[in-house]
Subunit: 285 residues, 4 copies
């Protein structure tokens, strides 16, 4: 859905008459050709969300990013926009945190290799050494984290800083982040939870799904907050199971959904299609 040479503008503001006209009018006056535009007005909260993909459409289009930002800053001030402008080919840099399970990491790495990931994995961190070989085969650095939790999180922060990574993706990391670290990464840390939230919050969801005898199991990608498994949901999917499925079967079946849901969420983030809206998300398609 993105195009080379194009720009992605995302913005949010209080909803009022004229925002769309203000933004699109400005783009038109500067020969910005709109390739895609999606918007959503939340009538309950009064917030407005917009994502515009545009490209040079004529001679008045600004020559570089700084001039473009300058042009946009006028309308941004007028409507009190929270906004972000990126080149559509500037890939979101992510650090992936894993534990022992390889399915999510392998899926992300293979998508990256085959050009199907809209973000760039720049490093992998883990509290185990098991997935080092897989990571390094893909030519990426693998950082074994110290056992102490505070040291662990400090190390993750250092890796993110050194790799100029904005986002952290917990790909079955199996560790609860401290409230402080979660706050620091608010809106920039994504987790895959192996249940269809809010069902089976917390530990061992497949065991509890088996005990409860559910007929569908699921996975949920969400932003991490200090409140465990309560962060804003980005993507969910389910798979049908029946009475014959043991806990091990559920775990095995669940792997495919977890990997798929996480990949979709990472791609949505990478394409700047995800907005926070209180404890919910707006995810343009």
């Amino acid at each position: 859905m993105t195009t080379e040479g194009a720009w992605i503008l995302t913005l949010t503001c209080a909803d009022r008459v004229g925002v769309v006209a203000g933004v699109t009018g400005l783009l038109a006056r500067h020969d910005g050709f709109i390739l895609d535009s999606q918007q959503y007005a939340d009538l309950e909260t009064g917030r407005f969300f917009m994502r515009v993909v545009f490209a040079r459409g004529g001679p008045r289009f600004p020559d570089d990013a700084d001039r473009l930002r300058l042009v946009l800053s006028g309308v941004a001030a007028e409507y009190d926009l929270g906004w972000s402008l990126t080149r559509s080919d500037a890939r979101l840099r992510i650090v992936v945190a894993v534990s022992k399970g390889s399915h999510c990491l392998n899926d992300l790495l293979h998508r990256q290799q085959s050009g199907a990931l809209s973000a760039e994995i720049v490093a992998v961190v883990s509290n185990h050494d098991r997935l080092r070989s897989l990571t390094e085969w893909h030519g990426l650095p693998y950082h074994l984290l110290p056992a102490d939790k505070a040291a662990q999180e400090a190390e993750i922060g250092r890796v993110m800083h050194d790799a100029a990574a904005d986002h952290l993706v917990l790909a079955r990391y199996m560790q609860v982040l401290s409230a402080g670290f979660a706050d620091r990464l608010a809106g920039r840390c994504l987790n895959i939870h192996h249940s269809f939230l809010p069902g089976f919050k917390g530990a061992r969801p497949y065991h509890r799904a088996h005990e409860r005898g559910v007929k569908l199991i699921g996975a949920t990608a969400h932003f991490v907050t200090g409140d465990l498994d309560e962060g804003p949901i980005i993507e969910q999917a389910v798979e049908r199971v029946d009475h014959r499925a043991s806990v091990d079967d559920l775990i095995r079946i669940g792997r495919d959904i977890e990997a798929l849901v996480l990949a979709r969420a990472v791609n949505a983030l990478g394409e700047r299609r995800v907005f926070l809206n209180g404890n919910r998300t707006v995810v343009f398609q």
Copy 2:
């Protein structure tokens, strides 16, 4: 999956060597031709479940139901079977309880009319008069229930008794059964809950789904027990939604899933494909 002139034998017992051979051998010796057979051994609980559909396959086949039952009672005693034998064309008689919402009732009535329901609705009961016209147009009796809860349940029991109905189907009935009445109908009372249990147990699930910002909504058909929304699950399904869906949208989208999930559960019951297995179910396909 059923056939005219055929019989359905359902059984459950402690699992051990020889059960299948005992049952199928007996059928073979009496010229019973097996049309379909499904079985499941729960290795955790040691329970065995079996559903066999069979028909006359030769001259030694018993002439009537009594003789067939007599033949089966031998193997039933040997393996300590809980068992049930019905003609495949003997339809399960159900009373449907509704409140004001018509979508589940209309769906069941139309399936009955078009031959797509594997059970027979013999009466409709309600604490409102709103769905009388719809019910009576389909030629079925409609009973308005008294306001008092005890009287209400007594009246439902009377309607079921008079109509020789074994099962009660709560098709968005919006009333919690008393523990005593739920116990009395154990394994014979089905409810459709408008969420993907165990998420959003209790009241107003669509409102809470909206607040939580889930990306899928669902419905759950389950047996009613004294423990609200905790009964054994028979069938579940979900539908994708996104940030644009208001609570009203969720309610509207959810109606289709509720009707479909309930119809599937009623058909599974009617075809004798559902077994209780502790707080879970075995549902053969």
Copy 3:
């Protein structure tokens, strides 16, 4: 997704810089408050499609439909728009054509009754008398069509004219329209086909699906053109089946999908979310 008191503007034109700005700027200058806006630029064909839902947002908003149309005609001329303006509560009037099968008609009628249909069924026409009782119970006129094909189509045209209906919905009508009639209704006649097109075009798709041993069956709602089963697709869905399903099972399972897919397509039309784009469609969500 629609709102009382609001307007829906749909438009299509050759894509160029400034269309969005032109339309939204005009709305802003006349105090039009945008509630929803979706657009799509087809880079292959160079066509642009837009649907804007807006409402009065201030004193400059035109007082009536005529003035609003006058205001819009300026921008329409400037950008050579094909455009349409309707009140969001002005329901699309449809005539439904049926044969003997009731599932699609019943589903549409019940949705209408329960407020879940974004169009208004104003009459039912049929070449059989079987569904008269169902239709009339819902308080709608039922027209039995003559046997002769030309007379049949003339009668449908007359019913549509008398009922001021714009669209014809073939809800398992089982008759092929003449090329002339199909042309006359181009973009205004919707059919539900009981297969996942382009698989199993033509007659008896469930029989052929059974012969081919497919593992999913589907249904397709599409615009009718002179080229049978080749019209632009509006909506499709599938359901899983397995080797045990007989042709009759497929027909029975397929009914649910047919009714659901048709209802979704009618709602998309009724909400003015469907655009023709050559032999394809643009369907905003």
Copy 4:
């Protein structure tokens, strides 16, 4: 669904009274404890299919495979069974044929590595060298095939023979097998086709899906026969798309479905759940 130390018996025969009893009675008399049993009688063709998983349940159970086969050969002769007996932990040996696209191969290799593949990849063959590194990193031999078709197929046959592989899996191999080679591998060669067959048979299905404007795209795993894209279907799945999806988007979205459908089909084969039934399949779950 399989268990260590267990045996899988698959059989097919003309359907008649007593087959199930004959098989299960024999197992019971030799202390075979049935863990799972599925069967299907095709009333149209009169063929019967059965898969029984059983284990030692007492002292009379045969001590080794030869004795077990001897025991079974009696009932096999009596009912004229086509039958096969394998240990449940004896994995089906497969050779995977690929071209340039890596998504299906990577998915299979990762499933193998993580214990989620019910077959064993013993070699990879390809007409390009591109996927050598991926294959060899997983410790598997990679054979570059000669350009000449006859030589190519001879080499595949040689690799299969040397690796004692029974089955060939075309994981986006992009070459049409010769009729002779397809015949020789009848029932032992699996292909993943990147469309929802029978729609878009032949080349460039995503391009044609885009032209046709379908709202769902799919993938089909089927046995290869001399009749291109007409072999018996094992598994299918679809994914929703909309008007915004370009051909490249369809190709990208399709990769996930292709890999998933192929993995499911390979697992079904590996678990001996797939039977040929004329030009269709029986796939037990």
